[in-house]
């Protein structure tokens, strides 16, 4: 494999990925017909997904350095640069984003009937901002993309959502915004220490211990709200339940990853000392999130709420893996992030499919539809098994790695979170059993149609990934291995330096 291309040379692939959705959105603004709009957005997102594939082929997994670099002057007065680049972790997340977007368009084909144009524009703007977050190597550029997601996402929830959509949208907006204000202060403080907003320049600097603690606290608040970690999770069920299917999928598959990605990109390499200080507390919160998410999901009768609370549990595994601070933990965490994107995204699409047919998400109302929609039930069964980390599916690999990492970190902690895995089996099988078979008092469902071609096309790619990652995870682990090792080194090595530094 050749070495990574030099800075600013060749096609600026990342910029193309970031800005082509905006161009597509501008194109969508000129289209009048709703039918044409759907096809246009589907075509654009598919093309963007195809364009993102060369990232995978040309990525050099042997190095931990950022690749596909672009670096331009942007606002010299504030020392802000337009700097992009990806490493093994962001590569996977960028691909997840670009590949999931066409499925979001497909999932909202029938669901969205009003203001189709605005909906598609919001989706495309979201894509642009999400890819931007994962590619940005300048702190302010990151922050701008981070905040740029707020408005379109709030609109997705607030305009096309369910009955309490406005409440959910406002709550989502305020939570995220409140979290990010201190993120900005921390970034400015780092900029004044290092002289620029460059993320790489901020990493591995000998900051004083107290400074690190404060910066970490500001970061962690912002990212913990985004993940969301217990006890900052309360916006999530509201947002998930009210959002339209595509909104839920974006929220679950990509937006929640921003929080964990932030931990990996900011907290660990920039404030390693503080990471070690805070890790036990964050591990405890992760364990609480896993158990809390599991128990709460067990008690839900609304399908979407059930999946939403299962998200809290799954993301608990991701943060658990991050803060055990060893290679298998972090690799497992990244895999959990990807898997959660695939599986939970698929589950939300499944719930959306049920809702489109029954106009309710009530578990008892959906009881026993399996008899009439065998194809759908097949898909749902696989995704449920994947969600409970059944061996052979993707989540098994991720959670196994996380638990292995956690076991070598603390046996007690691992024993505490293992019931979470059992809970996942309990709530998922409960849902699957009810939906597929139900009981003696099933509502009459014989008029329900099985999946049509479009819906199969929506779910099939996700099914492929469930088994691909489940049976052959090596390429994914390989892509991020060097990056993760480098990250571990950054967390481990900076400690003595930080301890020796003068605050």
């Amino acid at each position: 494999m050749t070495s990574a291309p030099a800075l600013n040379s060749g096609l600026p692939l990342l910029s193309v990925l970031i800005f082509s959705p905006l161009v597509a959105a501008a194109g969508a603004a000129l289209i009048g017909s709703e039918r044409l709009l759907r096809w246009w957005t589907l075509a654009c997102t598919t093309v963007i997904a195809a364009v993102s594939l060369p990232l995978w082929w040309n990525f050099n997994p042997a190095t931990a350095a950022f690749q596909f670099r672009e670096d331009h002057n942007w606002i010299p007065f504030l020392k802000i640069r337009y700097a992009l680049g990806i490493d093994g972790i962001s590569l996977l997340l960028v691909l997840l984003t670009t590949l999931i977007l066409p499925l979001c368009v497909l999932a909202s084909w029938r669901y969205i009937t009003v203001r189709v144009k605005e909906f598609m524009i919001c989706l495309l703007v979201m894509e642009s901002a999400m890819v931007g977050v994962f590619c940005a190597l300048d702190a302010i550029l990151f922050f701008i993309f981070w905040e740029a997601m707020l408005i379109p996402m709030a609109l997705l929830i607030g305009v096309w959502g369910g009955p309490r959509k406005v409440y959910a949208a406002i709550k989502f907006f305020i939570y995220t915004m409140a979290g990010s204000v201190f993120l900005l202060v921390a970034l400015i403080a780092l900029r004044l220490k290092t002289g620029s907003f460059s993320l790489e320049g901020m990493m591995g600097q000998p900051y004083g211990a107290t400074f690190q603690l404060w910066v970490f606290a500001a970061f962690a608040l912002s990212f913990a709200i985004k993940v969301p970690m217990f006890p900052f999770h309360t916006w999530l069920p509201a947002a998930h339940v009210e959002a339209p299917t595509a909104g839920s999928v974006i929220l679950a598959s990509v937006l929640l990853k921003m929080g964990t990605y932030g931990f990996l990109r900011f907290c660990l390499p920039i404030t390693p000392h503080a990471t070690h200080v805070f890790a036990p507390y964050l591990l405890a919160l992760s364990a609480v999130a896993i158990l809390y998410g599991g128990f709460t999901a067990l008690a839900q009768s609304d399908l979407k709420k059930l999946v939403a609370y299962s998200s809290v549990g799954h993301m608990g595994f991701a943060t658990l893996g991050i803060f055990v601070l060893n290679a298998s933990g972090i690799e497992g965490a990244v895999l959990v992030m990807i898997n959660h994107g695939v599986t939970t995204g698929a589950l939300f699409i499944c719930v959306g499919i049920i809702y489109e047919r029954l106009h309710t998400r009530d578990l008892s109302a959906a009881a026993g539809i399996g008899k009439h929609v065998p194809v759908f039930t097949g898909f749902l069964g696989v995704f449920c098994l994947s969600s409970l980390a059944f061996p052979g599916t993707n989540s098994f690999i991720g959670e196994f790695l996380v638990l292995a990492g956690s076991f070598s970190h603390s046996k007690l902690l691992t024993i505490c979170v293992v019931p979470g895995v059992v809970l996942a089996a309990a709530y998922m099988l409960r849902m699957l059993q009810r939906v597929a078979y139900g009981g003696t008092q099933n509502p009459d469902h014989h008029a329900i149609a099985d999946l049509e071609f479009r819906e199969i096309v929506t779910l099939l790619p996700l099914l492929v990934f469930v088994f691909w990652i489940g049976l052959h995870p090596q390429p994914f682990v390989h892509a991020m291995h060097a990056t993760v090792l480098n990250l571990i080194q950054q967390v481990g090595h900076a400690l003595p330096a930080a301890a020796a530094a003068v605050p």
């Binding site: 002057n73 942007w74 606002i75 010299p76 007065f77 504030l78 302010i140 922050f143 701008i144 905040e147 740029a148 707020l150 408005i151 609109l155 607030g158 305009v159 959509k165 406005v166 949208a169 406002i170 907006f173 305020i174 915004m177 409140a178 204000v181 201190f182 900005l184 202060v185 400015i188 403080a189 900029r191 004044l192």
Partner: protein
């Protein structure tokens, strides 16, 4: 000599000539349309002249008046704002047709005062320019039509005059101290002569009092009391003027006056810190419970004045440049909100936040303008409000004002809530039963698009503007720390 004199002074001359023409128009009977045309032409020509004179330099009127990059950039901003306000004013539905020529005359004179204000480097000229920009406003507030349930214009006009005159009196008193200490009215000389006595209580008292006149213009605590009442009492168009242009002038003069305090002994920075925090907290907390959109903008304006003062606390060129950049962005954002107010309003009455309900159905362009303006005020990227806050906070943190920065960010978070209330009505709400679609005329459409583009452009590609501002500040040779923090 004469030619360069003319060239340096061209934008002011254009506006003054426009004012003269408007004066003759007022002598006739019911010439509202003509007056509107003259005002529009004046604004367009003034903007062109300001752009044309962007690179002029010169010292006029025996050193009392300096034309440099700083003043010329602000003249472009002010004339652009003038043009926006004339376009926004439209047919002035809430001012009686018979007195509309006078309205435009006062508007033009006030802008002329502001154009002169940014060039004044002598405190006497400065006070005169300040009064010249203030007095027409005192008259424009009560020109609103009286009707059932709308009689507060006189009250707010009286409040505006009383506070204005009192603030100006205090300012003059402070300036008299400074004159007594230095024996000169020229600001550059004053700055040099104040250096030996900078720490003395008399200097600090003089400076502190001299700032008051500008606090009043900018609506900084404790000179803010007029703001919500005047916004509510004045017609929408007048409020849009009061909310935008004078603040730019105030910030420009504040940059000159605050720099007198450098190198700071801590007292002036402390004073400004306290006022900034008080303004932000007061404005934001009270804005939370407002129901009238103009009152909300009034209180949010107090908070934004607080953010602007944060830039001055730094006593650095970077801070001053950030404040100027911020207030320029603020002008655009608040004008965007006022365009929406004056077009949503029925016959020029005040607009409650509920009346914005379903604006996205009644007029998508207005809804877009509102969303951009309001989210910009809330400080969200990619709008100018975000970069403005970022540069102010960077400058403040560079000088070690951590507490102030944290308080500012907490305030920004509080403010999001009331801005979201506006957005919630406009975007998520359904139109009221009797609300018809709003038809916009072409000038309004142009204005909306221009404001949206400017707010986004200044937020995404601010390098040119912010560099020009910081270089112009550096060109003033203020006795403060350099541009790079």
């Amino acid at each position: 000599m004469t030619l360069s004199f003319l060239q340096a002074f061209l934008p002011e001359l254009v506006v003054l000539l426009g004012g003269l023409a408007l004066f003759f128009v007022t002598l006739g009977e019911s010439r509202a349309a003509l007056a509107r045309g003259v005002a529009l032409a004046t604004a367009v020509v003034a903007l062109l002249a300001a752009v044309f004179c962007l690179r002029s330099t010169g010292v006029l009127f025996s050193g009392a008046y300096r034309v440099d990059a700083f003043s010329q950039i602000l003249k472009v901003v002010l004339s652009a704002g003038f043009l926006a306000i004339v376009l926004l004013s439209g047919r002035l539905p809430d001012v009686r047709e018979r007195i509309q020529p006078e309205y435009f005359l006062f508007l033009t004179i006030s802008v002329a005062g502001l154009l002169m204000l940014v060039s004044c480097v002598d405190i006497l000229a400065l006070v005169i320019a300040l009064e010249c920009s203030s007095f027409p406003l005192y008259l424009m507030v009560p020109m609103r039509r009286e009707r059932e349930g709308q009689r507060s214009q006189m009250e707010s006009a009286i409040k505006y005059i009383m506070f204005g005159v009192a603030a100006n009196g205090i300012m003059l008193f402070g300036l008299s101290y400074l004159f007594g200490l230095t024996g000169t009215t020229s600001l550059p000389l004053m700055a040099a002569q104040l250096q030996p006595v900078l720490g003395s209580p008399l200097t600090i008292a003089g400076l502190g009092l001299a700032f008051c006149g500008l606090y009043y213009k900018l609506a900084v605590f404790p000179f803010h009391f007029w703001t919500p009442d005047v916004y509510q009492g004045a017609s929408n168009e007048t409020a849009s003027l009061i909310a935008s242009l004078p603040k730019i002038g105030a910030v420009a003069v504040l940059a000159r006056l605050v720099s007198l305090a450098a190198p700071d002994q801590g007292t002036v920075a402390l004073l400004l810190t306290v006022l900034a925090i008080a303004s932000m907290l007061y404005g934001n907390l009270i804005a939370l419970v407002q129901t009238d959109f103009k009152r909300l903008l009034g209180f949010s304006g107090i908070a934004h004045a607080g953010y602007t003062v944060v830039g001055f606390v730094t006593l650095s060129e970077a801070g001053f440049a950030s404040s100027l950049y911020y207030i320029t962005g603020y002008m655009l954002m608040v004008l965007a909100c006022f365009v929406v107010i004056s077009r949503v309003s029925r016959d020029g009455t005040n607009v409650a936040i509920e009346e914005l309900a379903g604006l996205h159905r009644r007029s998508p362009l207005l809804a877009l303008t509102l969303i951009v303006g309001v989210f910009g005020l809330a400080g969200l990227p990619p709008f100018v409000g975000f970069l403005g806050k970022l540069s102010i906070l960077t400058a403040a943190l560079a000088k070690g004002h951590l507490l102030l920065v944290v308080v500012t960010m907490v305030n920004a978070a509080i403010a999001v809530y009331y801005y979201l209330r506006v957005v919630r009505e406009a975007i998520f709400g359904d139109p009221l039963a009797n609300a018809a679609p709003i038809r916009l005329d072409t000038p309004t459409r142009i204005l909306c698009v221009a404001l949206v583009v400017a707010i986004v452009a200044l937020g995404v590609a601010p390098a040119t503007v912010i560099d020009a501002l910081s270089q112009s500040i550096a060109g003033l040779n203020l006795p403060v720390a350099g541009v790079t923090p």
